[in-house]
């Protein structure tokens, strides 16, 4: 019986996982599933604005891309600040380009060059070393 309910719960969770994501707006109306992008470059600036934060990223050919993220409120609540992603930081973006073909994309995955998740990479902020976390490696 216990095994049965566990199986049911696993099925329930999988079913719930297919429920459409609740976000501020419909990403499928803005970004093109047929245009995956992989960007490597340096942060030019980060806009900590609502409803979505935007990371501006300059890639090797000089193009500056705008990459859409979520609400900064979630990050603020976790202790991040406007200094947590500074210009010059090298990052990698995997996502999808805007349907209008402009240099905009969703920030489906944001990582540092070594593969660590942005904002999640260490016991501290996960941002570049910012002195907030004494245990963070130099």
């Amino acid at each position: 019986m216990r095994r049965n309910i566990t199986i049911v719960l696993a099925g329930v969770v999988m079913a719930l996982a297919t429920v459409p994501v609740v976000a501020h707006h419909a990403f499928s109306a803005e970004f093109d599933a047929n245009r995956p992008i992989h960007l490597e470059g340096k942060v030019v600036k980060m806009e900590w604005i609502n409803p979505h934060a935007w990371v501006h990223l300059e890639i090797a050919d000089g193009t500056v891309w705008m990459v859409e993220g979520g609400t900064p409120n979630t990050l603020l609540r976790r202790g991040f600040t406007k200094n947590s992603l500074l210009p010059g930081t090298e990052i990698i973006v995997d996502g999808y380009q805007a349907k209008d073909g402009s240099d905009k994309g969703n920030g489906r995955d944001l990582t540092f060059k070594d593969g660590r998740k942005l904002f999640m990479g260490s016991s501290g902020t996960g941002a570049p070393t910012d002195g907030r976390d004494a245990t963070e490696p130099e």
Binding site: T6, T18, V22, H24, F27, A29, G70, L75, L76, G126
Partner: protein, 324 residues
């Protein structure tokens, strides 16, 4: 103790509502003018789904072990770092939008381990929509599938008019699940983080606005029922809907401070034109040590311009024969 009080409070709710308020109980914190004190920042995140998943049928409450399994699996399923290789379609990958760190669903079920936030009907499911409401919902869905001609064609949360979890009524969702309650003699203010909404509720027992005056968040009037703040809202518009509700919605919300650090938030959706039966939800709100953060939605809403530009790009491609 907190878990015990919440469990007892909600178990009282399960068969018949209302049953939590204890008239005459003056042990709860009071404002200087003697009203029950609900002031503070309250966090209503929860992994508990609004409706009980059909597969769980009559199982209203999980055991400790089942709850632990559910929470673990649910957190894993909500992890937005999963990619298409893990079984998501590319469209699903786009819909996931961005990394896990932007999301804030919470990590736990309600303290009483319920399988749904809906407590009435007892099957934990929202009653069926009436034919009128089902047709209305289908029309809205069809309209949303079309590329928008103007911002007016998009939903009210995309337009930063209402927050998708700020209500009324409030419901746990993807992020910004916080409300700050202020009180003054004769008034309560419900200030939601999502879209920075404030509802100023007169606690005067006065009448609602005339029926022809319709408002985005309805017209809210409150009164005290013992320790419980009761807020009744009517005068909604036909431009908003909660789970299929219509402009005739009569929403009754109840706020009871059952512990220093816990508010029991209940609401009843009464809309005979839209639902076969009234239905009631119970949500646990936990005190937050953090402030609300600004959510100036309209000011930074690049997304709306991008949506319009993308829609026009699709139009051009369609006209050129690129998209059938």
């Amino acid at each position: 103790m907190k878990r015990f009080v919440f469990v007892v409070a909600v178990l009282c709710l399960l068969p018949v509502l209302p049953a939590v308020a204890q008239p005459g109980d003056t042990s709860a914190p009071r404002t200087p003018w003697g009203d029950p004190d609900l002031m503070g920042v309250w966090d209503f995140r929860s992994l508990t789904p609004l409706q009980r998943p059909s597969a769980l049928a009559d199982k209203a409450v999980l055991t400790l072990e089942e709850a632990a399994t559910y929470q673990r699996e649910r957190v894993a399923a909500l992890n937005k770092d999963r990619r298409t290789g893990d079984g998501l379609s590319t469209a699903g990958d786009v819909a996931n939008a961005y990394n896990e760190f932007w999301w804030d669903y919470g990590k736990e079920l309600t303290d009483d381990r319920r399988t749904s936030l809906v407590v009435d009907p007892t099957n934990g499911r929202i009653p069926d929509l009436t034919a009128v409401a089902a047709d209305r919902r289908a029309d809205v869905r069809d309209a949303r599938r079309r590329d928008a001609w103007s911002p007016v064609d998009r939903g009210v949360s995309e337009r930063c008019i209402l927050g998708f979890n700020a209500g009324p009524p409030m419901n746990p969702s993807a992020y910004n699940n916080n409300v700050q309650i202020f009180q003054a003699p004769g008034y309560v203010v419900l200030f939601n983080e999502m879209v920075h909404d404030s509802r100023v509720v007169p606690i005067d027992g006065g009448p609602h606005l005339p029926a022809h005056v319709r408002q985005w968040r309805g017209d809210s009037r409150g009164h005290w029922d013992g320790e419980t703040l009761v807020v009744e809202s009517t005068n909604f518009t036909d431009k908003t809907s909660f789970s299929g509700s219509g402009p005739g919605l009569r929403l009754v919300e109840r706020f009871t401070r059952i512990e220093d650090d816990t508010v029991l938030y209940e609401y009843t959706v009464d809309d005979p034109e839209s639902f076969e039966l009234p239905w009631t939800v119970a949500i646990q709100m936990n005190v937050s040590a953090q402030p609300l953060f600004e959510y100036a939605c309209h000011e930074g809403n690049y997304g709306m311009a991008n949506l319009m530009e993308s829609a026009r790009a699709v139009d051009r491609q369609t006209a050129a024969g690129g998209i059938k």
